[in-house]
Structures are given as C-alpha cells and as structure tokens.
Amino acid sequence: MSFGQIPYDVAHLLGGGVLLFSFVLLYQRRIGAVINAFATQGTLLAVAAAWQGYVQGAPGLYVTAVLALAAKGVLIPLALHAIVRRLDLHRTVETALGIGPSLVAGVGLVGLAILVVLPATEGARALAREDLALALSVVLLGMLMMITRRNAISQVIGLLSLENGLILAAIGVAGMPLVVELSTAALVLMVAVVAGVFAFQIRERFDTLDTHHLEEHRGERR
C-alpha cells in the first residue's frame, strides 16, 4: 500500500484533516468557536478510525470510532458549551502568546514532528510512519495550545485535542493489541478532566478561569 492507492490516500486525507483542525483550534478567538472546531476534529477522528477499521479489517476499531463520535463529536462539546454558559465564562480566548506567533510556532512543530518521526522509523511501513508523523504533530499542537492559552477551559481543549493525536497514532498502527481498550481508557481520562472543570467549579471561587490567579493560594507566601 503506497501513495496513489485509495486506502492509503483516504487515511492520509483524514489524518491531515485532523491536523488541519488542530490549527483551526489555534487561531479561533472565541471560546464557542474553539469548542465547535474541537467537535469537528473529533468527528473527523471518528471517521478516520472507522476507515482504518475497514482497511485493516479490524472490527474493534469501529467501536473506537463510535465512542469517539459520541464522546468527542457530541457529548464533550455539549458539556463544554454548558460549562461556558453555566459558569458564565469570558467568551474570548485569553492568549499568552499571540495568534500569529502561535501559528508560526505550530508550523515549526509540525516540521519538527516530521523531521523526528520519518528518519527515526525507517523500519516501519509507509502508512504507519506518516500517520505517526501526523499524530505527533497533533500531539505537539495540543501541547502548544495548552501552553499559549490562559483560560483553563482552553487548556482543557488543548489536552483533549492532544488525546485525539494519541488515538490517531493508535489506530494507524495495524494490529496494535488492546487498541480499543486503550483508546477507551484514554477517553475516560478526558471525560474525567471535563468533569473536573464542573466538579472543581473554579469559577465560583475565582473571578476568572485564568489559572494564574490560583497561584495566590499556594501557601508558600506569608
């Protein structure tokens, strides 16, 4: 299977789509739009998982696809919208690094991911390698979003999109054992993080979700 064959090209296209939405996440200025971009990324990931399930003949991946669609395409975005409304958060994204510089840094990270993965994995099959390069890019962009955004909710979305990158990597490796179990366990972690925003109700105690203000409560100051 190589370039020019349908299974390869569609898998590539879907992986590229997931990566594209990592960039979309980076340049949105309103929280609502960020959540919607995340929902689209989750849906694309579900389609990618279903496609890999079809190509690899691995029915387990359909389970991953359905879970990703239900959780990341629908439920988590709905919950995030509800959190924004309920806690009456700022509707704009507070950035620590401007939108333009974050996009430049994002392009640099994608280049880094490709330069790291492609030479390092010469033994593996072409599809798995390039899928891994895309997945690592998504992971790094998720981390970038966590670093460059001030609101806790944007940081949570960064973590969620980072986890999308992990699932993209896991489904691309044909014959990966426990792939359904691992992706489900990772999803449980992400759902717990979203639940954590609800449970901790950071907004109730502090005027902003900006985690910087929490530093006041460290107990190290006199």
Binding site: T121, A128, A186, F200, I202, L214, G219
Partner: protein, 478 residues
C-alpha cells in the same frame, strides 16, 4: 482466579464495599481489614515461584515493590483510622475517601504487576484519577489548585506515555503478533532486532511521560502541591507508592531500549534528569515554609537520586537505586505520618508554626526527628546504605558527576537538618488541638515507629532472601 489478579480485585472489591459504609469508625476499620487482606495476599504471592500469567508477571524487579506497597498501604490505613476524624469529613467524603484509597491501592498493585505495557498504562491512569479526587477532597481553593495542576500535568504526562507505548509497539510490530505485542517479556526477547530509531522515539516519550509521574525535574511541579493539600494519609501513599510505580515503568522502558546495542543509550538521559532533580530540589528545600511541601520537594530529590543511580547502570548502581526506592517509600511515609500528626496537633502545616515537638509530644517528636534524620540519609537507616553505595558507584564510574551529586546531597541534608531542629527541638509552639483519645494517639504513632524499625532493620541487617532478590532485580534492569 490467579493470585496476581486476586490482589487487585480484592482491593477493588473492598472499594465497592467501603463506598457503602457512611460511618467513620466502621469505614476506617473496614479499610484496615481490606489493607490487611491485601498484605496477606502479597505475602502469599511472594511465597509463589515467579511466573508470567496473562497480562501480569512476577519477577525479582516488581516483587519487592509489591511487598513494600502492601506494607505501606496497611500501615497507612492504620494511621488513617486513628487520625481521620481530624480531617472533618462528612459521610459522603468518608465513603469517597475510602473507596478512592482502595481503588488506588488496587491500581498501584496492578501497575507494578503488569507485564503488558498497555495494562500498566491503564493502571497508572486509574491510580492518577483516584489520587486526584483525594487531593481535591477538602474543597478549599488551595486543594482545587493542587488537584487541577496534578490532573493537567499528569494528564499530559500519561498521554505522552501512551504515545510512547504505541511507538514501542510500532518498533516491535514486524516481530510480534497481536497476542504478545505489548508484553514486556516478549518485547525484551525481540528488542535486539527492533528498529533502533523507533525504539529511541518510544523511549523519549515513555521517559517524559512516566518521568512526569515520577516527579523528575523539569516535570515535577505538580508534586509538592499535591503532597501538601490532600488528607495526610494520601501524601504518604503518593510519595511512598505512586512514585515507585512510575519509576518502575521507566525502568521497564529502559531495559527494553538498553537491550538493543544500536539504540540510544538510556543512561545519560536518566543521569541528566536525576541530577537536575537533585540539584533543583536541594536548592528549593531552603525556600519552603510549608512543611508538607518541603517534604514533597524532598521526594523530588530522592527520585532524582534513584534516577541517577539507574542512569549509571551496572549491578552496583542499580542495586543502590532499588534500595533507595524502597528506603524512600518506608521512611518518607513515616515522615508524612509524623508531619501530618504534628500539623493536626499544632493546627497549621507551616514550618514556623510547628516547633519543639520533642518537648510537647515526646513520642511524636522523637519519631519525627528520627524519620527526618533517616530521610536525610543518616545512619542506621536504609537510605544511608543506598546513598553510600550510590556515591561510591558514582565516584568509581563518573567522578565528575559525583561532585555535583555529593554537593546536592549535602545541601539537601543541611536543609533537612535545619528543619529537623526547628520542628523537633526549637522553641515549643502552642497546641491548637487537644490530644487524641486513648488508643488513637498510640495508633497514630505506631506506624511511624514501625516504619523506622523496618528501615533500620533493612539498613543494618538486610535479610538474605531480599538481598538476593534485589541483586537479581539489578541484573534485570541491565
């Protein structure tokens, strides 16, 4: 059910039962009973020959940690039974706390037992979720901040570890089938034929991921806060147990990569992270005002020392690292018992508010003084043995690294002794709470002294069987 799984599911079954008990007294006693049962099962497991069983394995490397884990779990549950009414929980929190405690213990044991790296990852994740909820249980702003930081940083950490696990499978994919694909034993067998570049990539992510959980600098910043804000018994099991499970995962990854002659040498990475941890922690210890954060930083220092030992490699240094992890578990949980009890008695966990314990609470004060001396690496406790062995191995193999290492150890030692003098021998500060009634005061002090006795016994006369086990484990790591 094989004994390996029986231990895990006994704890998790206990968690379900404990979630149904609202009464403080009944719940704490049931928690002790479940922990005692787990300890017995762990002893039975130690009596069996080593085996690989499905997703689990017992070998020389994990068995000592399983025993330490069950032991600390039991003593911590006793301490918890004696002091939990000081935390002021309502009945929902009593249920949640005890259920989370046993979920954590089960997941911790599974993480140690796992042969399948995917199962190990899931177990570490469950242990993280259980501890996050316990750190947040007081619902104060500081507790929320600590839990949130813990959650987000360790969330990223375990996400990276999963990525590393996937890449590791990618490296071994041509050689393994779906059944054995993530088995550590199978990976060890084929490691020498894997693609070295892919192995390097996998190791980088596994080290970063599990290194975050082990509290290695620069990924340590969740650790002091998480140790300071939860209920006291949680600090003891976090520091004593969870860090070991993460370090064991790093060691499993290191042994796979180390088995390939052309792959990158994992040692220097561990040396660098370890040395950075020791030095940063040694300096940071001087600036702490909060007693539990202070000892959280001390955990970073000790994890750094262990990582340094494993980075040096070879039978001698590996043995020093293993001894150090075990000694740290036993002594650091003793320190947290003492500090936690002192903070309850004085009504504050600031170092300045805890003074002269030896004069006001002799049993607690002397116990804490000895425990801090033990964690500082003074004889006769086990950490003296391990630090001595580590320094001599470092001086022999990498003399230039031994100098900053010794400097870090001495700086940390001085900070610990300063705090020891202030808290135990300084001018007494007024008590905020009256003493616990009758048996509780004894039951709160007993685990501390028991741990001290065990650490001293292991330091002075290590049983032959355990020494043989650890020597074999040192060879497994490679």
């Amino acid at each position: 059910m094989p004994l390996q799984w029986a231990i895990v599911f006994f704890a998790w079954g206990g968690a379900v039962v404990l979630a149904a008990i609202p009464n403080l007294r009944h719940a704490t006693l049931a928690n002790v009973a479940v922990s005692a049962g787990s300890f017995l099962l762990a002893l039975m497991l130690a009596a069996q020959p080593f085996a690989e069983h499905g997703w689990t394995r017992t070998d020389a490397l994990n068995l000592p940690f399983i025993l330490v884990s069950a032991f600390v779990g039991l003593t911590t549950s006793v301490f918890s039974a004696a002091t939990l009414d000081q935390e002021g929980f309502d009945h929902w929190r009593i249920r949640a706390y005890h259920a989370a405690y046993q979920v954590f213990m089960g997941a911790q044991t599974l993480a140690l037992l796992a042969d399948n790296l995917g199962v190990m990852w899931v177990a570490v994740e469950i242990a993280t979720l259980a501890t996050v909820s316990m750190v947040a249980v007081h619902r104060t702003p500081a507790a929320f901040e600590a839990a949130w930081k813990f959650f987000i940083l360790c969330g990223v950490g375990i996400a990276l570890a999963l990525f590393g696990t996937i890449v590791l499978y990618l490296a071994a994919q041509p050689l393994l089938n779906e059944e054995t694909g993530l088995s550590w034993a199978a990976l060890m067998r084929v490691a020498a034929q894997c693609d070295p570049g892919t192995l390097n990539l996998a190791f980088a992510f596994l080290l970063l991921g599990y290194g975050t959980k082990a509290g290695l600098v620069p990924l340590h910043s969740w650790l002091p806060d998480a140790h300071a804000e939860g209920p006291v018994p949680i600090s003891a099991v976090l520091s004593g147990l969870l860090l070991n499970a993460a370090m064991l995962a790093v060691l499993r990854a290191k042994s796979i990569v180390g088995a390939h002659p052309e792959a990158i040498a994992p040692g220097p990475f561990l040396l660098a992270l370890g040395l950075a941890s020791v030095l940063l922690a040694a300096i940071s210890l001087w600036r702490r005002r909060d007693a539990r954060r202070f000892f959280g930083w001390s955990s970073i220092e000790h994890m750094g020392l262990a990582a340094f030992a494993f980075g040096l490699g070879g039978a001698g240094a590996n043995l020093a690292g293993l001894l150090h992890l075990i000694g740290h578990s036993v002594v650091k949980s003793a320190v947290f018992f003492g500090v936690g009890r002192a903070a309850q008695a004085k009504g504050s966990q600031k170092i300045a508010d805890i003074g002269g314990l030896v004069a006001t609470h002799p049993a607690l004060g002397w116990g804490l003084a000895l425990a801090i001396a033990g964690i500082a690496g003074l004889p006769p406790f086990l950490l003296f043995v391990s630090e001595f062995r580590l320094l001599s191995a470092a001086a022999a193999e990498a003399p230039w690294l031994a100098v900053p290492l010794a400097l870090g150890m001495v700086t940390a030692l001085a900070a610990l002794i300063t705090v020891l003098q202030a808290m135990c021998f300084g001018a007494p500060t007024p008590d905020a709470a009256s003493a616990l009634d009758g048996w509780r005061e004894t039951a709160a002090a007993a685990p501390l002294w028991l741990h001290l006795a065990v650490a001293a016994a292991l330091g002075l006369a290590m049983p032959g069987a355990l020494a043989g086990l650890l020597a074999e484990a040192a060879r497994v790591i490679g």
